[in-house]
Symmetry: D2
Subunit: 293 residues, 4 copies
């Protein structure tokens, strides 16, 4: 198995809705925007993509379309998480069959899972596909917090788990991944307000919805880190931090969809019970975006 | 809207699986067992029923079959929770159409919901049906913790929210429901190891999977409380507590399914990634059950 | 060592301050009030007694005076906790020498203590005195949370640790003490809003500052439990709960001192940085007390 | 009031004990070692200095001696925290009178303090002295967590609160101090394993006990940050991180005292109930130190 070199700014796509369901035309345009802006990879159907809120048919439709529309311009990383192992396996296979370069797996759970159950879940998915898996830890949305020790065990035991995305926001997890993994475990940051420090700690990439709105600032931060220029990275980070904080607090689908609409790309509202951004919040977002121009 | 008098021991059903999917014959037998043992109501498709792990078609099948099999011998309370409001509404309507007496709603979420979003979710469901709603708070599985103040707001604003099930395990929530609700909000306990104290604090019922295994002890505890006999209630509670603790720690579907199998009712295993009980745990369960005979 | 039969309502004393330091005359009157009202034991120098805010000389003065003023009318339980083992030992010996029936020990800490360190702390105190120790768990003030397993280990290993006071407010700790301790570990409740449920779960006593203000209601609740009358206990509990909640939220020394002043016993203010009750809170307290007359 | 330029590596001193109490001779030697190694400031009587475990007389002795022994070679920052405002004021005045350049204040508490109480505490201390105050937030040892908003309010209201030391280990607090404080609030890091990221985020200094053992690595990290060399800073940080983690886990006084002893400076053991390092831990420490030579 050849692992594509996943690094840098990994942009999440939203899932646009129209009255008739998923709006593929708008999805295509949002993907093009991201790629044209320079992101290093595209990640459909994650949290931002409201993957958990789609019907099975919609999920398949978005997965297939996204992969084909990216068309290998950059690598595609499809989130295939599901509550049951059987369905996660099906989604992983489906995505691989349609050309995904990597699949991302969060151990979503209703019942608290034991470490053995989590490991078996990853092993079952790993054995079903030939592409690499980015293991994803995000207890805030999955309800399951994987310790660094467990993550490393899965990394060592399941061949195609070759990358780790950490979204707890706790920088000590990255330190531990680096020390216990002896520098051999590529890790990625999924917590926007930790972007600067995750790069300082050695993260290989930043998975984020922000490039839908401020791609250049995201890319510049990464470039400053590559250039070993801490002062510039710090300055760029603090400049974009108010927007990153706003996105997090407002909810990713609601804020990103409002932001895209503000720039002329109509992508509909999030699915209920999630509300679209209030008018007051939309004004705030506009002000934040204007301050960054 | 007439609210059925929901009280006492409310028994959760498991969802039996065979090689071909849901095993309706076994489901019917497990329901009969519960009713014959004397439970005061039946609650299908809750956590114990692995509702979150079923396909839409399976969910409909289990809902319809359970309601019809109970056949009004006792009230049926169907859990209709779903991530999207649209799907929760559909399930609530479906259950009402097939004869459910009450629907139970947990504000399941992927994204953290605001209070306004939660209220709108309950309102949308409430306006779609004519039967009462049991509002259900269980942050451990839903990811959303509703404050007592929010619960009371929903109770006051949405007409058919007429009962509250509290599963945080924090007895102070029940005190607050009682004080702020001025004794007018019927509350139910969903945390097994809190059974004694919830009744002491005035809970009207206990929603539990335990009657699948030890119905008489559950019913006796309730009777002792009704008889105002604290000493007897305490003695009965401590007697069943080791089993209640075991069920909670082992996971409800895994332990209840293992327990039913041990008593001759084959209901299959939980769906992966949830493991069936290990052999060691099964021996422990057998020992616990025998000690209670 | 003969253990006095500690049970029922165990009343905390405040430490009155005048311009010249501790006001022993007022302290004596507050002790007399408690004993005359019928409490079953007196506990000086606890949290309510601002023990942590006294100089060493003041501490000795209050300990000696309180014990002598109680004069064996009821048992005296002196809190001798201190950050260093040496000083806690000195206080325990001092209190025993002056006639304390029991000493109470919270493992106060600045640094997080290991289980071995906590055990050695209790052992050192235990070996220095001949009176029983009430082990006290209250992570909110001590910073150290002792697991039930550790508590039982200390109980089994240190001869004169013969009672356990649990103030986490988590009723499951009491269940575990009862089950793992096989009913042989007398436990006491130190969390006011848990009074009803702790008694339901089998607590032998309730350590509380409330009898300074509403002794009869506290005693009646205990009597209802002894009389096995759950309904009456529940009714009495909910009646006093708003005041118990108020005391907890307002801070024990501030609210109890304000309450005593309102009933004609001037005991000064708490030591800074703790504020006396605001005027608004004092009105609220007066209203709550009047509603209970 | 002129604020000394506090920056860089701020070294905590331990408090050496001999059979007769504080060992001033050893204290002097440990201070000389720190200054000779190049630290930018000395901080006596903090957590590492077991300030909370000293008698009042010992505290005065250590404060006076430390300040006089440092003798303005670098600034001295004395921790004057105490449970009561009166005693904290006394200590602040005492330290100023003996030549302290800065005092550090943690709002130590037994009872949970309100924001108004915390503010009044800082104001009372501030009004009593003429030297600057470093406000110190460390809920793990103080029991009080000050929000960034409260910290900024105190910073703005109390004139001589001119520096903030943050030890929650949550990097987002520093971001917020930077953004809400508009870059005008000098902040210092007190969490060893956050050293790299705190500097990345703009911390002006690092308060740490580590220079007692590995001063050069601490200083080199700071120099790399000043030189804007992120790669080198990262490499230096990961090199010293295992030792920093060890110190934190083992407890600062125990590990630092064991480390000093290993290098020929006998400073006694921590005060009970805190244990000295076990033999196994001492071997581990020796191995860690040797790996860094």
């Amino acid at each position: 198995m050849s692992t594509p070199n996943i690094h840098g700014i990994i942009g999440y796509t939203i899932t646009p809705f129209s009255a008739n369901g998923v709006d593929l035309e708008a999805l295509g345009r949002s993907i093009d925007r991201l790629i044209d802006s320079g992101v290093h990879a595209i990640a459909p159907l994650g949290s931002t993509g409201e993957g958990a809120y789609l019907s099975d048919a919609e999920w398949d439709q978005v997965s297939e379309f996204s992969i084909q529309h990216v068309a290998k311009r950059v690598p595609t990383i499809v989130s295939v998480s599901d509550l049951t192992t059987a369905k996660a396996v099906r989604r992983a296979r489906f995505s691989e069959a349609h050309g995904a370069d990597v699949v991302m797996v969060l151990p979503a759970s209703y019942w608290k899972l034991s470490e053995a159950e989590i490991l078996a879940h990853y092993r079952a998915i790993g054995e079903s596909i030939g592409v690499p898996i980015m293991l994803y830890n995000n207890p805030a949305t999955s309800g399951t917090d994987m310790s660094v020790e467990l993550i490393l065990r899965i990394f060592n035991v399941v061949d195609n788990v070759t990358m780790v995305k950490e979204s707890t926001g706790d920088i000590q997890r990255m330190h531990k991944l680096q020390l216990l993994g002896e520098g051999q475990v590529p890790f990625y940051n999924g917590c926007n307000p930790l972007a600067l420090e995750a790069f300082a700690a050695g993260a290989k990439g930043w998975c984020t919805a922000a490039p839908n709105l401020i791609p250049q600032l995201n890319l510049d931060l990464y470039e400053a880190v590559l250039a070993n220029d801490l002062g510039k990275a710090r300055e760029l980070f603090y400049r974009q931090l108010p927007l990153l904080d706003f996105i997090l607090k407002g909810g990713l689908p609601a804020t990103i969809k409002a932001g895209l609409r503000a720039t002329g790309l109509e992508v509909g509202d999030p699915r209920l019970p999630v509300f679209p951004l209030s008018e007051a919040a939309r004004s705030q977002l506009t002000a934040l975006l204007e301050a960054l121009r």
